[in-house]
C-alpha cells in the first residue's frame, strides 16, 4: 500500500499543522536545527536516521515512506524549533547507543540490528515522554511520532481496516457504511 503526500498532509493536520494542499514541502527538517557542531550528524544523515527508524516501525507492505516521512517531519518542525531540537537529540541518542553497542551510526545498521537495538534500549516498552529517560524520549520523538503520523493517516488507517482513523477528519459518512462499502482494503 502506498503512502502519499495527501497522507502526510492529513497526518500533519492531525498534529495541528495547517498546510495548504498546494504547499511545497521540500527540504530537510533538520537543516537548520539548533545545536549543530562539527561532531553532529549532517542534516541529511539525520533524515536518513529518521527513515531508518521508520523502516523498523513501519510495516514492510508500505511504499512511499521516504516522501511521507520527509514531508511530515518538515511540516511538523517548521515552526516548532523546540520540537525539532527534541527530535535531533533523540536521533543523537540513538546514534550514541548504536556506536557504543554496534560500533556504527544507527542508520548504518541493518534493519534487524536496528530493531534489536530499539528492543535492547527498552524503547518497545518505554513510557513515551518528551522529558523522560533516553528510551522514553526516543519513543516519544521518533517512534511514536512516526506511528502517530502513519496510523492517523487515511492509508495507515486502511492498513488496519479503518479508512477514517481517529485524528483524521475523514467526514461523517464512513461510519455509516458497512464493510463491503467501507473500503476495507486488507
Amino acid at each position: 500500500m502506498e503512502l502519499t503526500r495527501r497522507d502526510a498532509l492529513a497526518a500533519l493536520a492531525a498534529g495541528g499543522v495547517a498546510v495548504g494542499t498546494g504547499a511545497l514541502l521540500e527540504g530537510n527538517p533538520f537543516a537548520d536545527g539548533r545545536g549543530a557542531s562539527s561532531t553532529d550528524a549532517a542534516p541529511e544523515e539525520r533524515m536518513a536516521s529518521l527513515l531508518a527508524v521508520a523502516e523498523v516501525v513501519y510495516p514492510t507492505e508500505l511504499s512511499g515512506v521516504e516522501e511521507f516521512v520527509r514531508t511530515y517531519a518538515l511540516g511538523r518542525v517548521e515552526e516548532r524549533p523546540d520540537y525539532r531540537e527534541g527530535m535531533v537529540e533523540a536521533l543523537d541518542t540513538l546514534d550514541e547507543y548504536s556506536k557504543s553497542w554496534f560500533d556504527d551510526d544507527f542508520r548504518a545498521l541493518d534493519a534487524e540490528t536496528r530493531a534489536t537495538l530499539l528492543d535492547q534500549m527498552g524503547v518497545d516498552t518505554a513510557s513515551p515522554a518528551p522529558e523522560g529517560a533516553d528510551a522514553d524520549r526516543v519513543r516519544y520523538y521518533l517512534v511514536n511520532e512516526l506511528l502517530y503520523a502513519l496510523y492517523s493517516s487515511p492509508t495507515g488507517g486502511k492498513l488496519v481496516g479503518i479508512e477514517n482513523p481517529q485524528g483524521h477528519p475523514g467526514g461523517a459518512t464512513s461510519y455509516q457504511r458497512g464493510p463491503r462499502e467501507g473500503g476495507d482494503s486488507r
Partner: protein
C-alpha cells in the same frame, strides 16, 4: 497588559464562563444590560485545538493536560465511601466543561420534574430555545421522549453501521432504538462547520462542530459582555442586612484582589465550585455559608453512573470512525422494570429479589467507539513493523458494546464540604466530596446490565467486559448541591433560580436539580439558565 480590574456600573456579575454563564450573559446583554463574567480559568485559543487533540491521542500526555486541569488550583479531597475523580470531571476556562463533553442533549422526561417546583411545561419553551442555541441535531423518532412542538434545528446524524447490527437483535426482542439528540453540527450551523469526523469528540473537537460554550461567550462579548479570565472568585460579600450581595471578591494572576460590584449576581461555576464558594462566603449573618439558612448548600450531591457491556462479534463492526453516539433507547426510562415482547422472546422483567430496591430510570446507548482505536493501540504497543500491524489487525474490527446511564436519588449525606486541612493556590480550603453509591443505584445498574446482556446475547456477542454495580464510576454530571424548591427550609433557590436568602443572587447550574433522572444534564442546564436570565432581566 490584560485589564483585570473590576467593571464599573455592572448590572450583572456572572461567576463562570461555561454553558450556563455564557447563555445567561448573552441573553442579558442582548436585553441591554451591562454584564461582566469572572472566570477562574483561561481562554483557550481555538487554533490550538488540533494540538490538544494530539495530546488526547498520544499517551505521553495525561488526560488532564488536554484542558490544563489539575494542579494547586484544582486541589480537592475525596472523603466518601467511593473515590470521586473531580479533576477529570470538569474544565476551568472559557467554555467550561463543554470543551470536553460528549455533547448529548436530551430533554428531561415529564416525570423527572415530579418533585421540582417547576414542571416540564414551564421549561418547554426554554428547551426549544436551548436547542436552537446549541444547534441540536435530532429527530422526533423517540416514542418515549416528552412532547415537543418544533423540529430540531438540525437533522439527526444517520445511524451508524453498527447501529444496524444492533437493530436486528433489538427488533427480535421488542426493544426500540431511536436517534440521539447531539449538540454537534450535522450540517453547517451558526458559523460553525459540520462534523468532519476527527473521532475525538471527548475530550476535544478540533473542528468546532461540537458545541462548546466558548461560542456563546464570543457572542456575548460581541453584545458587550466583558470577560475577566484567570479571576477565581474568593468569596461573595453582602450588605449589613444580609439581604443582597454587594460584591464578588476575586484574585488575579498578579497577586491582586479586586471587588466586582453589581446589581445582580449569578453563580454559574458548576455543581462543586458553586456550593464551595457559598460555603467560603460565610459571615456573621450566614455562619454556615452564604444563602445556606436551609443547611442544604452542598448537600444532595448526585451524579449519573455508567453501566455498560461489550465484547466481540465474528463480523466487522466499523467502530471508532466518529467519537459520538447515533442511537440510544429510552424504553426503560419511565419503567425500568418492564419486560419486552418480540419474536425472540424479549427482555425479561426485572429479576430483583424482594429486599432489593426497585431500579430507577435507565438510559441505554449503542456505542460507536467500542474496542480499541488502532492509532492509540499503535502508540502503546510493544511491537513494531509487521508484528505491530498484525496485532492491530487482530485487535481492531469486531468490537461492539452498549453503554448507559443511571441516576442517583438525592441523599443528604452525599455532599460537598470544605476541607480546611488542604488549601488551593489562594489559601482557600478545597472542596471535599462525600460520595457513595447506594443500594437503589446498584439495582439500577444491575438492571441496566441485565438488559444489555440480553441484547448482546441475542446478537451473539462474545461478552468480554461489563461495568456494573461493583466496578462503575461517575459520568461527571454534578447535580443537586444548591437544590431548587418552594420551601426555603429545605432548598437553596426558588423556582426562579434565585436564592431564598439573598434577593439578588441566582444560580444557573445542574446544582439546582432536585433529582438527577438518567439523562445528560446540559440541555436542562441551558434551559434553566435562559429561564433564570429572564427572571434577572425582570428584576433589573
Amino acid at each position: 497588559m490584560t485589564d483585570r480590574t473590576p467593571s464599573e456600573g455592572a448590572d450583572v456579575c456572572i461567576v463562570g464562563a461555561g454553558p450556563a454563564g455564557a447563555l445567561a450573559a448573552h441573553r442579558l446583554a442582548e436585553e441591554g444590560h451591562d454584564v461582566v463574567i469572572l472566570e477562574a480559568g483561561e481562554r483557550f485559543d481555538f487554533e490550538d485545538r488540533q494540538r490538544r487533540m494530539e495530546r488526547a491521542i498520544r499517551p505521553a500526555h495525561g488526560p488532564l493536560s488536554v484542558w490544563e486541569m489539575g494542579g494547586e488550583r484544582d486541589r480537592f479531597s475525596s472523603a466518601g465511601e467511593w473515590f470521586y475523580p473531580l479533576n477529570a470531571a470538569r474544565v476551568k476556562g472559557v467554555g467550561g466543561t463543554t470543551l470536553h463533553w460528549q455533547g448529548m442533549v436530551m430533554r428531561f422526561h415529564e416525570e423527572d420534574f415530579a418533585s421540582w417546583p417547576i414542571d416540564y411545561d414551564d421549561l418547554r419553551p426554554y428547551y426549544a430555545e436551548a436547542e436552537r442555541a446549541l444547534g441540536v441535531a435530532g429527530a422526533a423518532d423517540n416514542p418515549y421522549a416528552p412532547p415537543r412542538d418544533e423540529p430540531y434545528p438540525l437533522p439527526a446524524f444517520p445511524p451508524s453501521y453498527s447501529d444496524s447490527i444492533f437493530a436486528e437483535a433489538c427488533e427480535r426482542l421488542g426493544v426500540t432504538m431511536h436517534s440521539v439528540p447531539n449538540a454537534r453540527n450535522s450540517e453547517g450551523y451558526d458559523d460553525r462547520s459540520a462534523c468532519v469526523g476527527y473521532g475525538t469528540c471527548k475530550p476535544v473537537c478540533p473542528s468546532g462542530a461540537k458545541y462548546s460554550a466558548d461560542h456563546h461567550v464570543e457572542k456575548a462579548e460581541e453584545s458587550g459582555v466583558r470577560v475577566v479570565t484567570r479571576a477565581p472568585v474568593q468569596r461573595l460579600e453582602h450588605d449589613d442586612a444580609g439581604e443582597r450581595v454587594t460584591a464578588a471578591v476575586y484574585a488575579t494572576p498578579d497577586g491582586e484582589t479586586h471587588r466586582q460590584a453589581a446589581r445582580e449576581f449569578v453563580l454559574a461555576a458548576g455543581g462543586v465550585e458553586i456550593p464551595r464558594l457559598l460555603l467560603l462566603s460565610k459571615s456573621e449573618e450566614y455562619p454556615d455559608g452564604l444563602a445556606n439558612s436551609s443547611g442544604a448548600v452542598g448537600r444532595y450531591f448526585m451524579d449519573h453512573l455508567f453501566a455498560g457491556s461489550g465484547g466481540t462479534l465474528d463480523t466487522e463492526t466499523r467502530q471508532n470512525h466518529v467519537g459520538f453516539i447515533t442511537s440510544e433507547c429510552h424504553q426503560f426510562y419511565d419503567d425500568p422494570t418492564r419486560g419486552t415482547e418480540g419474536s425472540a422472546g424479549g427482555v425479561p422483567e426485572w429479576s430483583g429479589e424482594k429486599e432489593e430496591p426497585k431500579p430507577d430510570s435507565i438510559k441505554l446507548e449503542f456505542l460507536n467507539y467500542a474496542g480499541p482505536s488502532p492509532v492509540e493501540m499503535a502508540l502503546t504497543g510493544e511491537e513494531f513493523g509487521d508484528d505491530l500491524l498484525d496485532t492491530l489487525r487482530e485487535g481492531y474490527g469486531n468490537s461492539i458494546a452498549m453503554g448507559g446511564l443511571v441516576g442517583q436519588r438525592p441523599r443528604k449525606e452525599n455532599r460537598i464540604t470544605l476541607d480546611s486541612s488542604t488549601t488551593d493556590d489562594h489559601g482557600n480550603p478545597v472542596p471535599e466530596i462525600h460520595w457513595r453509591v447506594d443500594a437503589r443505584t446498584k439495582s439500577s445498574l444491575r438492571r441496566a446490565n441485565e438488559i444489555q446482556h440480553r441484547i448482546l446475547d441475542e446478537l451473539g456477542v462474545d461478552v468480554s467486559w461489563t461495568v456494573g454495580p461493583e466496578s462503575t464510576g461517575p459520568a461527571f454530571h454534578h447535580m443537586g448541591t444548591t437544590r431548587m424548591g418552594s420551601n426555603s427550609e429545605e432548598s437553596v433557590v426558588n423556582a426562579q433560580l434565585r436564592t431564598h436568602d439573598l434577593a439578588n443572587l441566582s444560580v444557573a447550574s445542574s446544582s439546582v436539580f432536585r433529582t438527577s433522572g438518567a439523562l445528560n444534564p446540559t440541555l436542562t442546564i441551558a434551559a434553566l439558565s435562559l429561564k433564570m436570565a429572564d427572571h434577572v432581566d425582570e428584576r433589573l
